[in-house]
Symmetry: C2
Subunit: 472 residues, 2 copies
C-alpha cells in the first residue's frame, strides 16, 4: 500500500468509528503534511482519493470536510447457516447455467464472475517459459508421462508442499485438467450413484453440479461465515447419513470467504480418519492469503491418507492453462485410473510451461503482488458497498481469495436482484446457486478480483439502489 | 517409397504369389539393373533388404536365390464376430490396467501400445507455433473462451470438415481434452446408469472402461474385420435392447482395422436417425488413410444431428497436447454443459499452438509423410508376421491407422502369450481386452506405428515362436 493510500485508509477508519463526524473539517494539506511527516503531494493524493470515494468533500477556498453521506463500514454476517440436514438429490444445473451464461460476455460488469481479472497474471513470462519448455520437449515423454503427469511439474508441486511443511512425494500427485477435473476424479473415485456427500452450506455451485452429474445426494452442513464448517454438525451428519465423501473448501471458501483455523483443520483430519471418510479438500484459494503466511490445509494434518487435496494454478498463476492437481492420499490408484479413463493425460505445453516458470523462481514475487492487489480491492469494495448498499447489509471480511458474501436486509430476493442487475449489464452471483435446498435467497456473492474502477463503482451503486428498492 | 524399396516389394510379391519359387535364382544385379532401368546400387539395396527379411539368400560367387523359408503372406481374417447379443455390465478395468501398466516403460518393445512412434510428429514446428501463439495471447480470452474452446481453433477444425465436404460451423464444435474426453462427454450427455450401449465386437477397451465407469451395459454387435459393424445385427440389437447410444469407430477401427464403406455409413446414418439413437462416432484414425482420400465419416451423412462425431489431433499431429473435439449435433447444449462441469475448459497453449500451426498450412504435408511411413510399416509388419508366426495365423489388411488384428491358430491363449511376451520385454494387446464378454481369446492387436527395426523384428520372432509353442 502506498503512503497516500495508508493515510486515506487511516482517515476513512476515523470517519467510520466516529472520531471524525459528518461536517467536521479536515486539517489543511499543509498542517497534515507537517504533523504526519508526509509530502503535501501525498496528503493531497489521499484527500483526492477520499473525495473520489465520497467520504469527504471540498468546499471552495475553505478546505475539506467529512461528507454527510459517509457511513460506517457495513457489519459482518455472524451466524452460521442452519440447513435442514436432509440428504437430497441435486437439481441445480438449469439455474446455474442460466446465470453463468447471462454473464459470459465481456460487456457485462463481472461482479458475479468466478474469475479474477486476467490482467493480474504474468502471461508474457509464462508464454516465454512455455516456448523454452516446448523447444526442449522430449518426444518420448508424450508417451511415457501420461496419466500422473509431467514429472518435472510434480516435483515443483511437491516442493511447494514442502515449503509449507507438508511432505508429499511427486509420485503421490496426479496432474489434472484444472482443479475442476481433480475434484471430479476424486468424487468418482470414492462415490457411486445414490451415495450421500457432505457439503458446506452454502457451497461452491460446481460442487453441486458435480453431485448432480454423478447422481449423488447432497447433505448441507452448517457453516460459519468466518471459520467454516461446524464440526459437531459434520459429525452428526456422518452418523446420520453414512456419507461416501465430504467435500470442503477450508481456505477462503467460495462463496463465504470463510477460513478454518489450523486447530479446527487438525480436528477435522482426525475426525475423517476416525470415521474412515474420504475428505475432498478443495484448496484453490489457499495461496491468496492476506495475512502473514499460507494457511496449512487439512492435508497437512492427514496421517492416514483420508484427505484428497485438490488445487490448481488457475487462480494463482495461469488462468486458461488448465493445470491443476490432486494429492489423493490412499486413493491414489483409484484416482489415477479415473484420470486415465476420463482424459488420459493433461496437456503437455501447459504443464511444461508452468514447470519451467516455477523452476525459474519468480512465482513468489508474482504471488506477493497478486495478494496485495486483491487485499486492496477487498478494502475498496467493502468501502463502496458500505456507501451504496441498503442499511443493514452485512458483508464478510475474507482474509484471502476474492469473494465477498453479502446478506441483504429485508425481503430482498437475490434472484430478482440478479435479473435486474443483468438488465443493467451487471452480473452478480445470487445465493440460491450455492445451495441444493435453494437457501440464501437474500444473499449474493460479489467478486472483487477486478480493480474498483469508476465503472465497477457505478455498478455497485446501481445494485445497491436496486436492493434498496427491493427491500422496501 | 524409395526405388529400392519399390523393387524389393515387387520381388517379394512375386515370391509370395508363386511366380518366383524357393531355390529360384534371381537375375544378377547387372542384368536387373539393365532391364529395370535402375542403378546397380539400387538393385543391390533391394536385394540386401530382401535378404535381411529372409526372403532371399546369397550364395558365394553364385548370386541370390529365393530362400526356402520364404512364405506366402498370411491370410486375412474373413468372418464377422458372433457375440451372444446379451446386454451385460462391464467389468474390464482390472484386466486393462494390468496390461497397460505392464507396458508403460520405455524398455518394453511397444507392440501392444496404443500410440505410434512420437518421432513421426513435428514437435519442433508445433513448439514454435505454440511460442508465437502464446506471445500474442489476449489475457481476456482466458475468461471468455472457456467451455466451447478457442474460436481460432474451432474455425480451423470447421475448415477441415469443409475440405471433406462436411458443413459444420465453429459454433457447433466443442474442443476437449483429447478425443477420450470428447467420447466421455458424449456418453454422459445421452446416457444414465443402467442404460444399454451398442458397441462393436471387438471394440476399443477405452470404450468398455467408460461404460464401466458410468455403470452402463454393453451390447456387443457382430463386426466384420474388413467393413465393420453388421447393420442388420445392429438394428436387431436396437429393437431388442432399446439402447441409449451406440459407440462406433467407422474408420480403421481399433483393434480390427476395419473401415465401413461410404454406402454403409450412409445407411448407418439413416438407421440411427430412424431409431432416434445417438451415434457416438469415434473417428480418431480417419486422417491416417492409405488410399486416395479421407474416408467420409458417418457425420457426413447426418441430416438430423444424431451423430456425435469425435476426433483429435493426438494421432495425427500433436501427441501429448491433448486437444480433441466433438461435433455433437443435436446434443450440443448437453455436451457443452458436461464440458463446463467436468473440466471447464481445454488448455489454452495446446489449443492455440495447434490453431497457429494449422493456420500456417503445413498440416497436409506432414500428414502425407505420416501416412507413407505408416503404410510402409504395415507392409513390413505383415511380411515379418508371415515369416515368424505359426502357419494358419490370420492378419488383417487395414487401409489406414496403425493396428493389425491377428487371429492365432490352434488353442493359443492370447493372455498367456501376453504374459510370456512381457517376460521377454515385449508388449502385445490380447483380444480379451477388447470385449465385455472376454471373447477373442486367440487374438492379439499389434501396433505397427513404430518402424520395423531389428529390435522389433526380433520381438515379432520371439512372439511368433512362443505362439508356435502355445499352439502345439
Amino acid at each position: 500500500m502506498k503512503r497516500y493510500q495508508a493515510l486515506a485508509a487511516d482517515i476513512a477508519a476515523s470517519i467510520r468509528n466516529g472520531t471524525l463526524k459528518p461536517g467536521d473539517k479536515l486539517p489543511s494539506v499543509r498542517r497534515a503534511s507537517a504533523s504526519r511527516h508526509l509530502s503535501p503531494a501525498t496528503v493531497f493524493q489521499a484527500y483526492y482519493l477520499l473525495e473520489a470515494k465520497g467520504l469527504i468533500r471540498a468546499r471552495d477556498r475553505s478546505g475539506y470536510y467529512v461528507a454527510h453521506g459517509a457511513k460506517a463500514l457495513p457489519p459482518e454476517p455472524e451466524t452460521a447457516s442452519k440447513p435442514d440436514g436432509e440428504a437430497r438429490p441435486v437439481v441445480i444445473s438449469e439455474l446455474v447455467v442460466r446465470i453463468l451464461e447471462s454473464a459470459m460476455t465481456r460487456d457485462v460488469v463481472p461482479l458475479g464472475s468466478a474469475f479474477p481479472s486476467p490482467l493480474l497474471f504474468p502471461f508474457e513470462r509464462l508464454g516465454r517459459a512455455t516456448a523454452v519448455a516446448m523447444s526442449q520437449l522430449d518426444p518420448w515423454s508424450t508417451v511415457s508421462e501420461l496419466a500422473p503427469g509431467s514429472h518435472a511439474l510434480r516435483q515443483q508441486i511437491a516442493l511447494r508442499y514442502l515449503v509449507d511443511g507438508i511432505h508429499i512425494r511427486p509420485e503421490h500427485i496426479v496432474v489434472t485438467n484444472g482443479a475442476m477435473e481433480a475434484l471430479n476424479l476424486c468424487l468418482s473415485a470414492v462415490c457411486k450413484p445414490g451415495d450421500a456427500v457432505l457439503v458446506e452450506s452454502p457451497c461452491f455451485y460446481a460442487c453441486l453440479q458435480a453431485l448432480e452429474r454423478f447422481g449423488l445426494h447432497a447433505v448441507e452442513v452448517a457453516t460459519d461465515p468466518r471459520d467454516g464448517i461446524d464440526l459437531d454438525a459434520l459429525e452428526a451428519a456422518i452418523a446420520r447419513h453414512r456419507p461416501a465423501a465430504c467435500w470442503l473448501m477450508t481456505n477462503y471458501q467460495n462463496p463465504l470467504g470463510s477460513a478454518m483455523s489450523e486447530a479446527k483443520k487438525h480436528a477435522l483430519a482426525a475426525l475423517v480418519a476416525r470415521h474412515r471418510l474420504p475428505l475432498i479438500e478443495d484448496d484453490v484459494y489457499g495461496e491468496l492469503y492476506f495475512d502473514n503466511r499460507r494457511p496449512t490445509p487439512t492435508k497437512g494434518f492427514d496421517g492416514d491418507g483420508w484427505v484428497m487435496h485438490c488445487s490448481s494454478f488457475s487462480k494463482t498463476l495461469a488462468p486458461g492453462y488448465r493445470v491443476g492437481w490432486t494429492s489423493p492420499g490412499r486413493f491414489l490408484k483409484q484416482v489415477t485410473y479415473q484420470k486415465l479413463t476420463t482424459s488420459l493425460a493433461t496437456s503437455m505445453p501447459g504443464q511444461l510451461g508452468i514447470a519451467r516458470y516455477l523452476e525459474r523462481g519468480s512465482f513468489e514475487r508474482h504471488l506477493r503482488g497478486l495478494r496485495l492487489s486483491l487485499r486492496k480491492n477487498r478494502d475498496e469494495y467493502i468501502d463502496a458497498i458500505g456507501r451504496h448498499f441498503p442499511a443493514g447489509t452485512k458483508v464478510s471480511r475474507p482474509s484471502g481469495g476474492y469473494f465477498l458474501w453479502l446478506e441483504l436486509p429485508g425481503a430482498v430476493d437475490a434472484l430478482a436482484l440478479h435479473d435486474k442487475a443483468m438488465a443493467a449489464g451487471i452480473s452478480i452471483a445470487p445465493g440460491p446457486m450455492f445451495s441444493a435446498s435453494r437457501g440464501f435467497g437474500a444473499c449474493i456473492r460479489v467478486n472483487y478480483g477486478h480493480p474498483l474502477t469508476a465503472r465497477v463503482e457505478a455498478a455497485l451503486r446501481t445494485i445497491g439502489k436496486t436492493a434498496i428498492r427491493l427491500a422496501a
